[in-house]
């Protein structure tokens, strides 16, 4: 019970902190002090208190799109286990539910973008759905590898590995899968090198351009959802790259927290040292991720 409560609390509270960490790291790399770590929280609070401006073109889809997206992502968060603890909801096939909830989130984000009738937002939505066509298979091959190693079809068991820990011959495939998953994480959460969250040219954006017309509380919801998605995919990735456990509950939770912040820092480092890819080169990165996962699977069954 305590763990479920902890899971829920972390899920709801922690995500904006990751954004703060990323920004801080990027600022350090740029030689700036940067905004305070908790700045995203203040932003969210400010946005929630503001009024809303809506486009005349929009319908209810525009207003409910971010909300449905948020609901889907939170539910996905309930399925994904954190650290060595079981997720609040676990059932056979929850991995597919998880992936498809993210699909639902994408459906409504992009539909809401198209609701404005703006060419820029249409452009962003087109990129989002097109790149997802490559990230989804990569994610599923990664899940296949995990399912093969663990022999289980629940996300928790797959990520925690067999009782004895991941076997030695699974190390190489897992490394490849981790690389693939990291690329998937960057693409799904629209970070550099796939997308630059801080860019200021509408023509080159993916995620940011889709939400140009959202304002006030709705924009807050969108920001929060993006952070949440990063957090959830991060938890997934952490299982693969750092499957450590101590056996003590409080130590494990703090370990998870530290790992999560480190991951955010890594994302920040990647953003600082890499340039954004050309838009037409993004599929190459995603295909590379797909191949990496696929190669991992080949190693496993070969």
């Amino acid at each position: 019970m305590m763990h479920i409560l902890m899971h829920g609390l972390l899920l709801l509270i922690m995500p904006p902190l990751l954004l703060g960490v990323i920004n801080k790291v990027k600022a350090w790399f740029g030689g700036r002090v940067g905004p305070p770590l908790l700045q995203p929280y203040s932003d969210l609070v400010k946005l929630m208190r503001k009024g809303m401006v809506l486009s005349e073109t929009t319908t209810w889809v525009f207003r409910f799109g971010p909300v449905i997206t948020l609901a889907a992502v939170i539910l996905a968060g309930l399925v994904a286990p954190m650290g060595r603890f079981a997720a609040p909801v676990t059932f056979t096939g929850d991995l597919i539910f998880f992936a498809y909830l993210l699909g639902l989130a994408r459906f409504f984000t992009t539909t809401a973008a198209l609701d404005t009738g703006s060419p820029f937002e249409g452009m962003g939505a087109a990129r989002e759905v097109a790149f997802a066509c490559l990230t989804e298979p990569a994610l599923f091959i990664a899940l296949l590898v995990l399912a093969k190693i663990s022999g289980s079809l629940t996300l928790a068991d797959m990520l925690h590995g067999p009782m004895s820990g991941f076997p030695a011959q699974a190390a190489a495939p897992l490394i490849l899968v981790a690389i693939g998953l990291f690329a998937v994480l960057l693409a799904e959460t629209c970070r550099i090198p796939v997308d630059d969250p801080n860019t200021h040219l509408e023509l080159t954006m993916i995620h940011e351009v889709m939400v140009l017309d959202h304002s006030g509380p709705l924009f807050g919801v969108i920001l929060y959802t993006a952070a949440l998605k990063l957090f959830i995919l991060g938890t997934l990735l952490l299982h693969v790259i750092a499957p450590f456990q101590t056996g003590l509950a409080w130590l494990d939770w703090s370990l998870f927290l530290v790992q999560m912040l480190l991951l955010a820092a890594v994302v920040g480092v990647v953003e600082s040292v890499m340039a954004r890819l050309q838009m037409r080169h993004v599929p190459y990165l995603l295909v590379a991720a797909l191949l990496s996962c696929g190669f991992g699977f080949l190693l496993l069954i070969g």
Binding site: G93, L114, A126, C133, L144, G151
Partner: protein
């Protein structure tokens, strides 16, 4: 009891269009009578199907048919399972036509539509009931030919006639294959009765022959990928409720044939299941990729039928693999996914086609890039289309997710079992994931371009919401989608019952519910809906208070609705990504000189098989035949000359020329 009800329903359906034939061309009464008869038939049929699904015994009635031996007819759970969409869509489509194709506005073809609609429903019911090859073929032909007349309803349009011919040729090819199949069956088993074959009854060669004939014949009807060439055109040009029926139900008769027939054959080799799985994966992937390339709303939906048939076939292939590998849980999951997706697809695809119909009725165009902003004018249609779109993308909380989940789990099971090869999963799972992502892309494009934004090319003032007689069928279908999505536990026993006769008799009883926690899935879906609902309520009030301004346009002074992102542009990234198979044709505008004239640009994606293979081959053959055409000048004298030449030649062969010549020169 169940059989009696269904037979009554079949007769009612078959006769539903008849009274209208004797009434006036523009009298609405014929149509009302037809809808009444069809609706009562549908109710009786659905009641019968429900009885058939619940009652355990499988009663078979013998109808004497002297020429063909006795014909067997019966309802088992599998028949009843397929009867549900037949009668549901039969009734709903008929009701829909009341608003969509009113007799007084279509005096020239309305009665034809009613007559063949009823006949098609009756034909399908008969073929599902049949347990004997000849009765099956009878139902099959009634269905196929009625479908031809329905497809070519608007036979005054050139394109409609053309696709009608393509359909007719392909369906006859399919029937020919089925003739071959049943002749071989008769030769191998000694009877036309469709009863399970004993294990050692026939050799592997004959089994393989039966399998490939069945795959060809039924696959052609189901729209499996290389054999789908007739489908997009036919579905795009038929009236919308007919498209809904064709896509939602008639294609499934091919699936029914495959399921019914393949499970009569004993000991399937592993290659069969593998082949079906690969074909399903190809159909699924290419179906959705081609759908993305389309500019025509109904053609796009038609390609999505190919995609969904692919998913259904993947389930079936998995089940066949399970039979070969003696893994009942694969059979259960694969078959359950296959069957449930048959239901699901018939619900959401019919829903989407009916919505497309009301769009077409309101705007008189099905070109996606001419539409836009309909959600404001047609809120019901827009909302219902959204339900269908989410369902067809296989997203929770609707029904498409449940069936895809079953297939996924089946595929994943093939690798978690130690010792089993994971090739099925490696082919299936990523492809299915990609299909899902592409479907999302495609339906975001359609929904965004057709219903959202601002009107592009059509007159927005003319667009009006569909009448109640059209909305009611759509509502029922949407409710079915939601029900299966939110309470998937309800269909588990139905699936168990439908599969009961197909599982190997000695195997341990697996039920769907024991393999998949459908109740949990349902609870999660409900939670999702409730959660989203609560959040949405919380934001509704703030949305009302919002200020309304124009869309952000980067400060451009004169934005017009033509500047919106078109569906074609939206799809462009993916179309480029798959250009190796789509081969999009772009006709760029010729802009020359300092003062260029008005120029246009258009692009299209031709069908892989029909336009890229069959049509060129046909043209080539036609060119070879051209020289024969020179003999055919239309001059009577020439024809008589041909006869004369033929007569003289034939008579000359009787002349002993050699002897004659030798006599001539010997003298």
């Amino acid at each position: 009891m169940a059989l009696t009800l269904i037979l009554i329903a079949t007769l009612l359906a078959a006769g539903s269009g008849l009274p209208g034939v004797f009434l006036g061309r523009s009298s609405r009464w014929g149509q009302r009578v037809a809808v009444g008869l069809m609706a009562s038939g549908a109710l009786a049929g659905l009641a019968g199907a429900c009885l058939g699904l619940t009652s355990a015994q499988d009663r078979i009635v013998v109808f004497p048919w002297p020429a063909m031996g006795d014909s067997l007819i019966g309802v088992d759970a599998l028949s009843a399972f397929f009867l549900v969409p037949i009668f549901l869509m039969g009734g709903l489509g008929s009701l829909y036509s009341l608003g969509y194709w009113p007799q007084d506005q279509h005096p020239e073809n309305g009665r034809k539509l009613q007559l063949f609609w009823g006949l098609m429903v009756a034909g399908m019911a008969l073929l599902v009931l049949a347990r004997q090859a000849m009765a099956f073929l009878l139902g099959w032909e009634v269905m196929a030919l009625s479908a031809f007349f329905l497809v070519s309803t608007e036979d005054h349009r050139e394109e409609c006639r053309q696709v009608g011919w393509v359909y007719l040729v392909s369906t006859h090819l399919g029937t020919l294959t089925l003739f071959g199949l049943f002749s071989l069956w008769r030769w191998a088993t000694g009877s036309y009765a469709l009863l399970p074959l004993a294990s050692e009854a026939v050799g592997l060669g004959v089994l393989n022959g039966l399998f490939f004939l069945a795959l060809l014949g039924f696959g052609l009807k189901a729209g499996m990928m290389p054999l789908h060439f007739w489908l997009p055109g036919a579905h795009a040009n038929a009236p919308s409720q007919v498209s809904a029926m064709l896509s939602g139900v008639v294609l499934k008769m091919g699936v029914y044939g495959l399921v019914r027939f393949l499970f009569l054959l004993p000991d399937p080799p592993g290659a069969w299941g593998g082949l079906i799985l690969v074909l399903g994966a190809i159909s699924g992937l290419l179906g959705v990729v081609f759908a993305i390339g389309q500019h025509d709303l109904k053609r796009l939906l038609a390609y999505h039928s190919v995609e969904n048939i692919g998913i259904i076939l993947m389930g079936l292939g998995l089940a066949m693999l399970g039979r070969s590998a003696h893994r009942p849980e694969w059979i259960v999951l694969g078959l359950a996914g296959c069957l449930l997706h048959v239901w699901n697809h018939s619900f959401f695809k019919s829903l989407l086609f009916l919505c497309a119909g009301s769009v077409v009725q309101a705007t008189h165009t099905q070109e996606i890039d001419r539409l836009g902003g309909l959600a404001k004018r047609m809120p019901w249609t827009a909302g219902l289309f959204l339900v269908g779109a989410v369902a067809i993308c296989g997203l929770p909380p609707l029904n498409g997710f449940v069936s895809e989940l079953l297939v996924y789990l089946g595929l994943f099971r093939t690798i978690t079992v130690p010792g089993a090869g994971g090739s099925a999963a490696v082919i299936g799972a990523p492809v299915l994931a990609m299909i899902g992502a592409l479907a999302v892309a495609c339906f975001v494009k359609v929904y965004g371009a057709v219903f959202l934004g601002t009107p592009r090319d059509h007159d927005p003032a003319q667009a009006h919401e569909a009448p109640l007689s059209m909305r009611a069928p759509m509502l029922v279908l949407a409710a079915c989608c939601a029900l299966i999505g939110l309470a998937p536990g309800l269909v588990a026993p139905v699936l168990d019952r439908a599969m009961a006769g197909l599982l190997p008799p000695g195997s341990a009883p697996f039920s769907v519910a024991s393999l998949v926690p459908l109740d949990t899935v349902g609870a999660m879906s409900l939670a999702l809906v409730a959660f989203a609902g609560v959040l949405a309520l919380a934001f509704t009030a703030r949305g009302r208070a919002a200020r309304r301004v124009g869309t952000w346009d980067c400060g451009y002074a004169l934005p017009t609705s033509r500047m919106q992102y078109t569906a074609a542009s939206f799809a462009q990234i993916i179309v480029t990504m798959f250009a190796w198979v789509l081969r999009p044709r772009v006709h760029p505008p010729g802009i020359e000189g300092p003062f260029p004239r008005a120029a246009g640009m258009h692009s299209h994606v031709d069908d892989l098989v029909l336009d890229r293979v069959l049509a060129p081959v046909g043209r080539c053959v036609a060119r070879w035949c051209d020289w024969i055409h020179q003999l055919q000048q239309g001059l009577t004298q020439h024809y008589v000359l041909y006869i004369l030449i033929a007569v003289v030649l034939m008579l000359s062969t009787l002349l002993p020329i050699d002897g004659f010549l030798s006599r001539l020169f010997a003298r």
